[in-house]
């Protein structure tokens, strides 16, 4: 899953700036699932992710005419979505203590058939669960770079930290996820009697 190249994104942003409604549809269809997936995995709450998604797109429309030439729409959207999430977190008194797998798996499956749903790899479920147990900072680093194909520099700009600091964060996030995956893999094996 990768973003459009910079030129395409720039053209799309220019069309949006001109008020082109078809450009909005194009951007909406292209980025809505990506931004929503990002928000859902970051927030671990479908309701919250939906609210933040709405706000992200409404902000795009509100600021479309102010988009600077050369604005890359993908990073712009992820920046807004990410900032909205962290603003919510700061303002919220509710602890981020959802069950790691509760809300995510209540979402409608993105797979097209029951067979594919059944065949959805165990690995994928393990990754979702392990990802959900990481800190939000680690989750967003992994989701932006691995999930959305952004460069570490772009992701660092979105997270408003220095590129070197982001690389360190990403490295720690990868190590943490690998450890969680190993743990869940071992416990799964024990449950099924595969362990020695």
């Amino acid at each position: 899953m990768t973003l459009m190249d910079g030129d395409d994104e720039g053209v799309l942003a220019a069309r949006l700036r001109a008020g082109d409604s078809r450009a909005f549809d194009e951007a909406y269809d292209r980025y809505r699932p990506r931004v929503f997936s990002f928000l859902l995995r970051l927030s671990r709450s479908r309701t919250l992710a939906e609210d933040l998604l709405d706000e992200t797109w409404l902000r795009l429309v509100a600021h479309a005419r102010d988009l600077r030439p050369g604005t890359r729409l993908g990073p712009w959207l992820f920046t807004v979505a990410r900032n909205l999430y962290w603003t919510y977190r700061r303002n919220s008194l509710v602890a981020d203590a959802c069950s790691p797998e509760l809300t995510l798996w209540l979402s409608p499956p993105a797979w097209p058939s029951p067979f594919e749903l059944a065949a959805a790899s165990e690995l994928e479920r393990r990754v979702e669960r392990a990802l959900a147990t990481l800190s939000p900072q680690y989750r967003e680093a992994l989701l932006l770079v691995a999930g959305e194909g952004l460069t570490p520099s772009d992701a660092a700009a979105i997270c408003r930290i220095a590129p070197e600091a982001f690389r360190q964060r990403l490295s720690r996030a990868r190590a943490a996820l690998a450890e969680k995956l190993e743990q869940t893999g071992a416990s799964l094996a024990r449950q099924r009697g595969y362990g020695t």
Binding site: G19, F24, Y28, R34, S37, P108, A110, E124, R174, L177
Partner: protein, 86 residues
């Protein structure tokens, strides 16, 4: 090398996660709201009275401020000279 391979495996596993989306109804509703807002955005009035606001802010304002400070300084010096009779 092992940790690199492990890192690649981890990133690949995250990259392979399937997408999620809102319901069709929600997506259509949000699209309609955004399109409506896009169509009704207030048009910005273009300032074209011969005065470039940007130039005013960048140059004329600071120039007037500097001139005032300079005049004030000159007056202070003039009065000091008058008072102490240098």
């Amino acid at each position: 090398m092992t940790s690199d391979r492990q890192a690649d495996y981890v990133l690949a596993a995250v990259a392979a996660l399937g997408p999620h989306d809102v319901s069709r109804r929600h997506a259509d509703s949000l699209r309609r709201r955004c399109q409506a807002q896009l169509q009704t955005r207030p048009t910005r009035t273009v300032v074209s009275r011969g005065v470039d606001r940007t130039a005013l802010q960048r140059f004329i304002g600071p120039a007037l401020g500097s001139a005032w400070c300079l005049a004030y300084l000159v007056e202070v010096i003039r009065r000091a000279v008058a008072a102490y009779g240098f």
